[in-house]
Amino acid sequence: MIQTSTVQLSLRNRLLVILAFLVAIFSLVLFISMRTLTGQAVSAAQDGLLKAAAVSILEKVRISDGALFFDLPYDTFTILGSIGEDRIFYRIDANSAFLTGYEDLPISDSYGDERTPAFASIDYQGEILRVAAIEKPVLVEGQSIRIRVLIGQTSNFQVQLLSQLTENLLIIVVSFCLFAGLLAALTVNSMLNPIRRLADAVGRRGPNDLRRVDHPTPQELAPLMTALNDFISRLSGALKQTEIFIAEAAHHIRTPLATVKSEGELALRKVRKPENRAHLRNIVRSVEQANRSATQLLDHAMVLYRMEQPERRMVGLLQCVNDMVFNFAPSAELRDIEITVDSDISQELELYLDQTLLETALRNLLDNALKYSAAETTISISLNASPDSCRISVRNRPATMIEIDPDLMTTRFSRGANATDVVGSGLGLAIVREVMMALGGALEIEFEKGGHLCASLSLSRR
């Protein structure tokens, strides 16, 4: 139903691409900012450890008998190396004189106090060292000496912690990304659902359904709906006008045609000359055909009108068939054709439908059967009913029988190859088919053995 060949880029894909792009950008930004924050937190943690170590070294400085004593804290050193098995380097200076530690460790440019140590990252022995530098003045024998502690640690701790945290961070960001992507897909789907439902609703309509589309749609689709409904009403208006025009035309033609026909027949009785009689017969015959066509055009227009505004009521099926047979009895007698009704259904079986439509179908069907039947044959009508449906079959024996596609027979203005010498418009079966569609039934045409043609109407009982 929905034509996709002209669709270049679907809304859905476009939305999905945009959302995916946004999610990716957002995830990236999230990852980078969280990674940065984590990095800062980790280096702050290391700085905190180094600060604590430097402070605890300074706290252990004692002065005894004018001499400086240091007591490097064992546990501090243990803790410093415990997380990332980092190498530790330190040096302690008194003013600018080296006291202990690693003499080749470069002195820091600046030393902070115990509360705010000076931190730096330096290159030492081929590794990046994070160092904390603290100094504190002490009095030794009346002289002020600045004790300077420089303690550094390799960055294994940072690297290890960061890689662990980054791994966790990646898991979080990737799952966020997937979750957001899924949500985006669901959102897009649910947003586009109304469009799909609208398309379905319009697609489900029958070919003659030209009512306004009254499907609930989101606000954004309102202009489309308005345009669609405008288009539909314009189309149906145009169609209606055409129908009315045809019906009027047929009606206007029928009256003069009837006059022409009766005048022709009168003239035929008076005229004796064989060639003139032949001419008049031709005229009468053509007028008859025109009259039939006009009648059928009227029927057709009526069917279309009734399809839109059916007048349904309970209709006795058998009664309806019998009435129709009664109407056709005189014309059948003229050609020595017998019409039999063979019914399996009760008199009381009623269907809820538009009687005029049903009668139109039956009339056209019987008319056709009568017209094409060979003389002195029987048209048998049988009625069957099942719990779900009713079936009216009209079986006749055409004068000439060429099997053609039943579908083609029900097309407007197409006629069977056997119909060339019979007056007809080719609208009869087309009207029957349209009526059956309007009634929710079906028309089936079958060629049977023995030269019979069977046309069946099936009607739903619901």
């Binding site: 003013n95 004189a97 202990t100």
Partner: protein, 341 residues
């Protein structure tokens, strides 16, 4: 401005290294071995020979030169950058840790080292391969009439109340000379204050100082000495098994557990072969040979850690603290003041 810094004046061998004293050197492996590499070790050769022999038996193309030296000499040999050894083995955990911290060790990773417990490995550079309880050894003859010391405090009381038995008949490591002894003493000092009282009492008794566990054990075994404090457990057990006079005592207040460690020096010319040997040494098979034939308890031997109040010496950067020049000088001064009276 003049700053007075107190310097330990008694023995100052911390200065520039003056060359290593090789105590023993032995070659393992076939004459025609194509490759050879050197192990520099402080572990007695009898204890270590079985595992080397098993290795060269499996690898006839490799020969091993085993060089025995004191842990201090090993330290200065590697620290000075002179040594061209391929595997360094020592019981002085602190010196080993300092060598690795100062960047003298190569990184070594293998499936075997990945299977080591965390406490036996540092930075994929330093690997513990044997555990040792540090014990008190007493002479059975002298202690026949005395109670077996239960703790350091108890041991102290026994010494005090029996000066005639212990005068000049106590032995311990000379921490000035022995790196391993220094480690034991500093770990003792960390553990309890009793250590300093014990040291003073031992000092007042005229305690003899020794370079090594072997010598102390021989003196106790002969009955010359009544007790030796801080002796390497595996050596003591090995002697006790052969000689009736030696009794090994695990003091209940705490027992330090030593980790014998090995690393491949950065300057090693044959680090690949050394790595192969290290893998063998740390493998289950190597560990079993080491324990059953060499008598060095495996790191997978849980019975050592289950000794009452076992205090395993942590393989961590805390070990660097007592090697600090000032801290070391302070410690030695205190120790010498207590023991060498």
């Amino acid at each position: 401005m003049r700053i007075t810094v107190v310097i330990a004046a008694l023995i100052c061998w911390w200065g520039p290294a003056t060359g290593m004293t090789i105590e023993l050197e032995r070659r393992f492996g076939a004459e025609q071995a194509i490759e050879d590499f050197t192990i520099l070790s402080s572990t007695d050769i009898e204890l270590f020979a079985p595992v080397i022999e098993a290795f060269v038996a499996a690898r006839p193309d490799v020969a091993i030169q085993y060089v025995l030296a004191s842990s201090r000499d090993i330290y200065s040999e590697i620290d000075s950058g002179r040594g061209r050894h391929d595997l360094v083995i020592s019981s002085a955990m602190d010196l080993q840790m300092k060598l690795v911290n100062d960047g003298h060790a190569d990184r070594f990773e293998s499936p075997v080292t990945a299977g080591l417990p965390d406490w036996a490995i540092w930075r994929d550079q330093l690997f513990g391969f044997a555990v040792e309880p540090i014990v008190l050894v007493v002479s059975r003859r002298d202690f026949a009439a005395l109670p077996t010391p239960a703790s350091r405090r108890h041991f102290l009381d026994i010494i005090r109340s029996n000066p005639e038995v212990f005068r000049n008949r106590l032995m311990t490591y000379d921490v000035n000379l022995s790196g391993t002894g220094f480690l034991f003493a500093t770990q003792d000092a960390r553990q309890s204050d009793t250590f300093w009282r014990l040291s003073e009492v031992m000092g007042s008794m005229g305690t003899r100082l020794s370079c090594c566990s072997g010598e102390m054990l021989a003196r106790v075994e002969s009955g010359e000495m009544a007790a030796a404090y801080n002796v390497v457990g595996s050596y003591a057990q090995a002697r006790a098994a052969k000689h009736g006079n030696i009794k090994v005592v695990h003091l209940e207040d705490y027992t330090n557990i030593l980790l014998r460690t090995a690393f491949i020096p950065r300057r090693s010319p044959k680090s690949r072969q050394a790595g192969e040997f290290l893998d063998f040494l740390l493998s289950r098979r190597g560990q079993v040979i080491l324990e059953t034939q060499g008598g060095l308890p495996s790191i997978f031997n849980s019975s050592i850690v289950e000794i009452t109040n076992a205090k395993p010496i942590g393989l961590n950067t805390g070990l660097l603290v007592y090697l600090d020049r000032l801290k070391r000088e302070n410690f030695l001064r205190e120790w010498n003041a207590a023991l060498v009276q």
